[in-house]
Structure formats: C-alpha cells, structure tokens
C-alpha cells in the first residue's frame, strides 16, 4: 500500500522532513547568504527574475533553503510574494535613464557612446579554471584590491572618486528612428494590467505578455525563442540593436505629505534588449514594403539569453504567423511559467489510485467485450 496507508501519513511526513534536513547537514558546513550573493550572483538574478520579486537577500535565503534548486527557490519566493499586500506602483521608468554597466550592439560596428563590453563570459573560453579549486578568500581580496587600484590609476582618480555621474548613454534605436527606418512608437497611455492581480484572458494585451515573459522560466523562454528563430515561423533571424545591463532608478508617488510627490525608492539591475526584426509592411498603395520592427526584452538582473529570447517571442506574438506555435499566445504564455510548469509536472507524484481504478474499470469493461447493457 506504500505511502497511502489508511493511517500514518502524518508521521511519515514528519520523518521525511527531518531526514531532508539531516541530509543537508551531513557535511557539517553552512553557506552564508553573503557567500551566495557574492559567488552565485547569476543564479540569484535568475531566481529574482522568475519569482518576480527583486530582493537579492530573499533570493539568497530561498536558494539556501532550496539547496540550490532554482525551481524550489522560485516557488518559495512566489509563495512569499502572495503574503505581501501591494501598496504602491512605481511610476513610468525611462530606460534611457539606465546607469549602464554593459552595452553592445550587433547591428552596428560603432554606436554613439561606444560599445561597452562590461563583465561577460562571452569573451572567455569555457575551460575549467583549476585554480579555483584551492582559491582562498585572501586570493579573492588580493585580486580585488589590486584590480581596483589599477583602474583608479588608469583613470587618474583617487580612492574617494565617485563614478556616480558615469553610465548614461543614448539609445541605438533612437538613431534609426531619426532616420525613419523604425517607425516612431505609438504612445500608449493605457494603464498596464497586472498579471498577478487579474486573470489572464485571451486575446491578451501586450502588457500582460511582457509580464509573463519577463517572469518566465529562463530555460523555457530560451527554448521557445530558439524554436522561433530556428525554423518555426521565422527564417530571418533578428539582429540585436542594443543589449544593455545596468541599473534603473525607481520612484513611487505618494500623497503622504498632502501633495502628490515622487519618492525615489532605490534602483534595480536589469537586462534590456531591443532586437531588430525584418518586417513586411503594407503601404497605403498596397505595395509591400520592407521595414524594421522591434522586439523588446527586459528582465531582472543580468540574464542576457532570457532577455534576447523574450524579445523574439514578444515580437512573434505581436506579429503572429498563422500555424506558428511560438506566435500562438496561449501556447507560449500558458507554458513558460516556472511555478505552473514544475508544479503540474511534479503533481504526477501524488497518489492517483482512485482515478486509476476508474480507468482500470473502463479498460476491463471494454476488454470484456463491450458488455454495455449488462
């Protein structure tokens, strides 16, 4: 009878929880949240993005509790999110205000303000670095201090120097807009809908699609974005106009002081992608014209692959091709959510003996020879 005895389930569960805790303690070591944030930043970033909760501290805590399983960590944070009342919304944030750490364009050799490689694994060979096996904290600190001194030296600045004023750059897409290669965006003052506060109904709105994609599972968004540019719908792959990683300032409005005022509440690190897509356009005289469309991707933290894939899928759903699964918004939006996908797949572990008995009854009945009226 296995794990659904008539009685005794509660006790078995208690023991299973204790055993899990014990196995996690076997090595006699514990990792601090600071260590997780410092050494596993990319993982913290993707967990924040998929749980749509920007808090490196809570993400590190969730990762620790989940023993590093991102699915579990996201699940923990999403559940925590449900306990928090929503008090404020941030005001509109212009991403041109980003304090840029990295920006590249694949469309132009040179862009206004220059290409800034920032920190990226893109320019490294993926060879295991054996030195890390015995790396000590002293090694880390020594490299950090030496590197920082060298940078200050090169910039002829002192340790007290501030880099605050650095990092604002013009957007690549604006230069194409100035040349009329990309149409000016139609300003939309419609209040964005909130996917966590109202149901998703179809056909959906762009604000809902963007929210679901930005909190989507990195792997799922990437896989579907890949399918789109590889062969399901698109045979002319996009060109990245601009990819940026940096910090965005956020503000909320409040009437606490008697008048409506904006308050700065901090900044968040995001990755933003604007991808150029070749588009057919129908002109007024019914001639076909080639043009450039824009796909948009933005997600919490440094997560470039997800932001790029998001821009592909967003454009794909905005400009659907009949028969293409990656431009079918129900197909994409209903299947990329981490908590929903992992939850439903894992529920298969639950006992199903009542329903299976029902199925067996049918199969036996049919095999007995359609004895319907017996």
């Amino acid at each position: 009878m296995g794990y659904v005895a008539v009685q005794g389930g509660a006790e078995a569960i208690r023991e299973s929880i204790l055993l899990a805790r014990y196995e996690n303690c076997l090595d006699g070591t514990s990792i601090s949240l600071t260590e997780i944030k410092a050494n596993l930043k990319k993982m913290v970033d993707s967990v924040m993005s998929e749980s749509s909760l920007y808090s490196p501290d809570l993400a590190a805590l969730a990762l620790k509790q989940a023993q590093g399983d991102p699915f579990e960590a996201i699940f923990l944070l999403r559940a925590h999110r449900s306990t928090l009342p929503r008090l404020y919304f941030t005001t509109v944030t212009d991403t041109a205000e980003m304090r840029v750490e990295r920006r590249i364009s694949a469309s132009f050799k040179d862009i206004l303000g220059g290409q800034i490689l920032g920190a990226s694994p893109d320019y490294q060979h993926r060879l295991l670095n054996w030195d890390l096996i015995n790396e000590t904290e002293a090694d880390v600190i020594a490299f950090r201090d030496q590197y920082y001194a060298a940078i200050l030296n090169a910039m002829e600045k002192t340790a007290e120097a501030s880099f605050e004023e650095e990092g604002r750059f013009p957007k690549v897409v604006d230069s194409l807009r100035a040349q009329n290669l990309i149409p000016q965006p139609v300003l939309c003052d419609e209040e964005p809908r909130d996917i966590t506060m109202e149901p998703l109904v179809f056909p959906s709105a762009r604000s809902l699609r963007l929210q679901i994609l930005t909190r989507g599972m990195t792997g799922a968004v990437t896989a579907l974005g890949y399918a789109k540019i590889r062969g399901y719908g698109f045979n002319n792959h996009p060109t990245i106009g601009e990819l940026r990683v940096g910090y965005l300032p956020l503000y909320v409005t409040s009437e606490l002081s008697g008048v409506c005022e904006e308050y700065y509440i901090g900044e968040i690190e995001v990755t933003e992608v604007e991808a150029f897509m070749e588009e057919d356009r129908q002109e007024a005289d019914e001639k076909n014209q080639l043009g450039i469309g824009l796909g948009y991707g933005l997600c919490f933290g440094a997560n470039e692959i997800k932001a790029i894939a998001m821009s592909v899928l967003e454009h794909s759903m905005e400009n659907p091709t009949p028969g293409d699964p990656t431009s079918d918004e129900e197909f994409v939006l209903l299947h990329v959510d981490t908590v929903e996908a992992t939850g439903f797949v894992s529920h298969l572990k639950l006992p199903h003996y009542v329903t299976f008995q029902s199925k067996l009854d049918r199969i036996r009945d049919v095999q007995r020879g359609n004895n319907h009226h017996a």
Partner: protein
C-alpha cells in the same frame, strides 16, 4: 519567527477570491477566471481548492481535508497542516462534523448536509479541452452552449469501444446550461453532485478558474438515451474489512498471499463503520 497572516493570503487577495466564488455560485457550472495566487503548496497540488478554503475559512470553522478518499494521504496531511498552522482552526476526519471539506478526486460516502461546503481541487477545469486546445475558443463554445464536441467525443467512444471510454472526470451538464468537468472524481461519485444539499466549489489554481454547483442544483452526467451513464462497477466485490458493497473500493494486493482484495476507499467512512460495529463510534 515571522508572524504569518491569518489564513496566509493578504486580505485583498481573499476578497478577490470570494468575489469570484460569489459569481461562480450565481452562474452554476460557469468557469470564473481569477488571478490565482502562488501558495506554499505547488501548482497542481491543490492550490485552487486551497485558495478557496483560505479565503472562506473563519475562526469557527472545522475543516476536513481528504486526498483520494484519505484524510492521511501525504498531500491531505500537508494541506491540513498549512491551513491549521495559519488559522488555528479545528480539524476533523468526520464528514458530518466538518464545515469546510477540501477534497481531491472524491466526494465523501457520508451524504453531505445543508450548510456544509465541499471544495474540490481541480487539475483541468475545461471539459472541452480534449476537443479544443484553445482557451479563447472553448470560452466561446461555452458562451454559445455549443457542446457538439463533447457529445461527439462520447459518440466516437461508443463507435470505437462500444461504450463511453471516460475514466474519472466524466463531464456533467449543470443546471441545463453549462457542461462542467466534475474534476477527476470517479464516475461513482458523479450522481452525488445532483441536488446535493451542500455547496460545492471547484478551484483550479494553475488554470486560474473557480466554478460552483450551488445546493440542490440539477447535475446530469453526459450520456445518450440508449447508452446510459455507467458508474464503476464492483460486481461481486466488497470491502474486506466491512463487507460494504455500495462504496468506492480500492483494489489492493495481499502481501502474504498475493491475492487481490478490496477495501473501502473513503478512509474516515471505513473507520466510522468499524467503530460503529464495535459500539464506540458516533455515526
């Protein structure tokens, strides 16, 4: 320790869920979309039912949680613990004592009474999904009461197998208007939905839908006149412990002899029956 809010969800979320429940009660069998919240329980593990329970539960409620007919099944225990840890309400295994009963895949054998609320966990709320994958289109089909797909599916089954091939989750017609997925309760339980004195609420967390069968509502299992609806048949079989015949049975294998035997699936009904035999029970 951080303090947890009563019944976990913040109050505005609960209010929203209760509004969806009210609408569902007003339109029996209609799937009301709602912005399902994430819970500390995984999607697909009863989050729809649990959100309804957490939104409705008050301090005087007595809850009962069952999974596949058992109060002690792993997930029933887990859900009950969560409800109790966040509310401190009392729990029971006795169907008659409970005010809120959350269940997965079974309607209790003990008949329900007025004032009780049965909350069913729903994995797949859309009865037309196997004939139409698009949500946009199924919503239209319901609006137009176009259920030819559901009937055709039954007809095809009869053509292929000589009878309907549904296992659990055999679709029902509610209040002569909406075709509804009764959740994968066995066909054995379908007739219990008809004119039941209790309020029955259905919550699908992942699919973000709530629907309801109010008390004393007409619920008919889909079938043709010449091929009537059939429950699972346990002909010649009875519960090894109680001798009961008119209950849903689990099929088990005796570890010692390797023989197949049967036992009442509803574990609290089974225990109550055994206790009654010994003169100690309250049934």
């Amino acid at each position: 320790m951080h303090e947890r809010h009563f019944a976990f969800l913040d109050e505005s979320s609960k209010k929203e869920i209760r509004r969806a429940v009210l609408k569902a009660v007003a339109i029996p069998g209609y799937q009301v979309p709602f912005a399902s919240r994430e819970l500390p329980i995984a999607r697909g593990w009863g989050t729809g039912g649990l959100q309804i329970t957490l939104s409705l539960v008050g301090k005087d409620d007595i809850i009962k949680v069952i999974d596949q007919g058992s109060d002690e099944s792993v997930n029933a225990v887990s859900l009950r613990n969560l409800i109790q840890e966040t509310t401190d309400v009392a729990s029971t295994i006795h169907t008659t004592e409970a005010t809120l009963i959350q269940t997965r895949h079974r309607v209790p054998e003990q008949p329900l009474k007025e004032g009780q609320i049965l909350i069913l966990q729903v994995p797949l709320p859309e009865p037309l999904r196997n004939v139409e994958p698009s949500e946009y289109k199924t919503k239209k089909l319901h609006a137009e009461a176009d259920y030819s797909g559901a009937w055709l599916k039954l007809f095809e089954d009869i053509m292929c197998y000589g009878q309907a091939a549904t296992g659990a989750d055999h679709p029902v017609f509610v209040n002569d208007r909406y075709v509804m997925a009764p959740t994968p309760i066995p066909r054995f339980d379908n007739p219990k939905l008809d004119h039941n004195p209790a309020l029955m609420l259905f919550g699908a967390g992942r699919e973000k839908k709530i629907y309801a069968v109010p008390p004393y509502t007409k619920v008919v299992s889909l079938a043709f006149d010449d091929y009537p609806f059939q429950r699972e048949r346990f002909v010649g079989k009875k519960c090894r412990l109680t001798g009961l015949e008119n209950v849903y049975l689990d099929e088990l294998i005796d570890e010692a002899t390797g023989e197949v035997y049967y036992q009442t699936n509803d574990s609290s009904y089974l225990l109550e029956f055994l206790n009654r035999d010994e003169g100690a029970g309250t049934v």
